[in-house]
């Protein structure tokens, strides 16, 4: 076993790679070229070539994956980023993983910086916990390890029966704040709803800043609405129920008008969240913050899904800058909206791959991460 390398404060390629008997091979299973960018960057940092594979869709829309080199006995890493065809991205990955398993790879690690369907991780009405389905499918296909980043709900790790490394983007976002926002010491970290308050606090602690929380109407975005099962069932008729057995009904929640808890007057507001997809709630939050006196508004999120008209809405809104990482390709959105900036996180992904391949400890990558991050 190779000795541990010194802490990689500054990484310069090529890194020291422990060439085990089989060696390692890194694939990207994306058919879209823009989705392969992150994989290329990671491979460059590690000083290896990407593995040769052909991924495409046939005329009848079936996905085909053809691996063009031997993976027998090797540690395989499959880097897969989500493109606009998320279901196809998933199939590409599953087929790739299964192909590697049936070709006797020693281990297969999936690198999915953004884990798809992570917003569908709770029961909604008569829905399905799709993240669990994803986890089952990936494990069944032959995945032996998963590297991901900023899972929407940490509990998703429990859906897998293989090791999951949930890396954090916050050190990179914090570094951006400190280096690129000149008067960041006059900033307030803002949670656009009580759900992201914990994350806001963990950022604020590390920057020694205050927080503010927005609460009120316009809160229920479709994706996080959990109504679960009505338990006990809502009483429809009174006929069959004995009065003494009536179960008290849950009082419906009141929706108060929008309010900001915390002072943003005369300050820079930095809204932090894990995902920025539909931007309605962010735009509304920015309006509110502007009204309450914030003079500059930033949005920092790990995963920039930015679907549909999001770039246009951001451009027209009170938001000054949106900073996302490159877990999800967003070149098109950047062209439509110059307010969008990117932070590169390929370094931590390549370091994770290196450590896993060499059997080294991963704990260094989790230093300075608070419990609530």
């Amino acid at each position: 076993r190779a000795p541990s390398s010194p802490p990689p404060e500054e990484l310069t390629p090529p890194l020291y790679m422990n060439h085990t008997k089989g060696g390692l091979v890194i694939f990207t299973a994306n058919s879209h070229a823009s989705s392969r960018e992150l994989g290329k960057r990671i491979a460059e940092r590690l000083g290896v070539e990407l593995g040769k594979v052909q991924v495409y869709q046939e005329a009848n829309r079936e996905t085909r994956v053809q691996i063009q080199e031997s993976v027998r006995g090797k540690d395989v890493f499959v880097i897969q980023t989500v493109s606009k065809d998320v279901n196809t991205t998933i199939m590409e990955m599953l087929i790739m993983v299964y192909a590697c398993r049936t070709s006797c790879a020693r281990s297969i690690t999936g690198v999915l910086p953004y884990f798809p369907y992570s917003k569908q991780c709770k029961m909604r009405k008569r829905g399905s916990i799709v993240s669990k389905l994803m986890a089952s499918m990936m494990c069944k296909a032959g995945l032996t390890h998963l590297i991901t980043m900023d899972l929407h709900q940490k509990e998703i790790q429990g859906f897998f029966n293989i090791p999951v490394d949930n890396l954090r983007a916050s050190p990179f976002l914090l570094q951006y704040i400190q280096e690129e926002i000149p008067d960041y010491r006059n900033a307030v970290i803002v949670a656009k709803s009580p759900a992201s308050a914990k994350r806001a606090q963990s950022f604020a602690e590390r920057l020694r800043l205050g927080i503010a929380v927005i609460h009120g109407e316009a809160q229920d975005a479709e994706s996080d609405q959990v109504d679960g099962r009505h338990s006990p069932p809502t009483v429809k008729t009174t006929g069959a129920i004995h009065p003494s057995m009536e179960i008290p009904l849950l009082i419906p929640k009141e929706k108060p008008p929008i309010s900001v808890v915390g002072d943003v007057g005369g300050r820079i507001a930095i809204i932090v969240d894990d995902i920025i997809d539909d931007v309605d709630s962010f735009v509304a939050a920015a309006e509110t913050l502007k009204e309450r006196g914030a003079y500059k508004i930033f949005v920092m999120a790990t995963h920039g899904l930015l679907s549909c008209e999001a770039p246009r809405f951001i451009e027209e809104s009170a938001i000054d800058e949106v900073v996302v990482t490159n877990t999800i390709p967003h070149e098109l959105q950047k062209l439509q909206c110059p307010k969008i900036k990117t932070v590169d996180i390929s370094m931590i992904l390549s370091e994770a791959i290196r450590r896993i391949h060499n059997g080294e400890s991963m704990s260094y990558l989790f230093r300075n991460i608070g419990v609530d991050d």
Partner: protein, 285 residues
């Protein structure tokens, strides 16, 4: 005693409706949609607790999207305590990629045959059927074709590709005599239709008077429709495992055999615990 509940995915709602109609049932309420980030969302709109659920979804169109929709629907029904969940997949996707992995399911699989419906169509629609010849467009389909030929008591022929040297285009060789006969090409699927169009040309030049093509699954991707329009078929007949309405607008030679009664009968028999093998040789009325 559980009831039958039939849900339709978004791949082929027309076939699902026909199946439900034959069973005298309403289709179950379900909402399938996509979020703005293209993730599929499924919500079952009625109780399935303790019921015998059938989900109809064909592997056509945007296959990966339809497959994911099916998986999520199955998952949702299981979590909602359905007594049993059966997937009805008229055209099974990715079937061609793993020809060797036929036995990879751990659950019961009923692979129904369109053959009885095909035989019925031939007798009702081809006047000269008693003197026709059934042809396979490749050597792999010989078994399928002889089975039909035997049941109609007619002859069969097959076409095979001969590759003389590397880098030379394959030559198609007809084995059997089709002179002055009506030829019926039979295959399991029609995708880009290159092979069957070449086969049709071959049969005409070998003396066949008319050429029909009967294919279970009409995928018709890429240049398929224009190839058929330019080829010399009397008719190209497919079943409705895959929706054909759009394609029929662009090609008048396409005709459709309705197989909803076979699927409906299979559902009914499975639900009642009866034998499904009756359907391997009979078409329900």
């Amino acid at each position: 005693m559980p009831n039958i509940k039939i849900f339709s995915g978004s791949s082929h709602p027309d076939l699902s409706q026909k199946i439900a109609d034959r069973l005298g049932l309403e289709l179950g309420k379900v909402v399938t949609k996509k979020f703005s980030n293209q993730e599929t969302c499924v919500e079952i709109g009625e109780s399935v607790r303790g019921e015998d659920v059938y989900i109809v979804q064909s592997g056509c169109g945007e296959i990966n999207d339809n497959l994911m929709e099916l998986l999520i629907m199955i998952n949702a029904c299981k979590i909602a305590s359905a007594s049993r969940v059966t997937a009805v997949i008229p055209c099974f996707p990715y079937a061609r990629q793993d020809k060797k992995d036929k036995g990879f399911f751990d659950i019961p699989v009923d692979n129904l045959y369109a053959e009885p419906a095909v035989l019925k169509w031939i007798k009702e629609n081809i006047p000269e059927w008693k003197n026709c010849i059934i042809v396979s467009p490749d050597a792999g389909g010989a078994k399928r074709v002889t089975s039909i030929a035997d049941r109609l008591n007619v002859d069969f022929a097959l076409i095979h590709k001969e590759r003389k040297k590397a880098n030379e285009v394959d030559r198609m060789v007809l084995v059997g005599d089709v002179t002055d006969r009506v030829a019926i090409l039979v295959d399991d699927m029609a995708d880009t239709c290159g092979t069957i169009c070449h086969a049709a040309d071959k049969l005409i030049s070998a003396g066949a008077t008319k050429v029909y093509a009967i294919l279970t699954h009409g995928i018709f991707s890429g240049p398929a429709i224009s190839r058929i329009n330019n080829a010399c078929f009397e008719a190209v007949v497919v079943t409705n495992t895959i929706p054909q309405e759009e394609k029929m607008k662009h090609c008048s030679k396409i005709q459709v055999i309705d197989i909803s009664m076979i699927l409906a009968e299979a559902i009914r028999r499975t639900h009642n615990g009866e034998s499904v093998s009756y359907l391997f040789s009979h078409v329900p009325l």
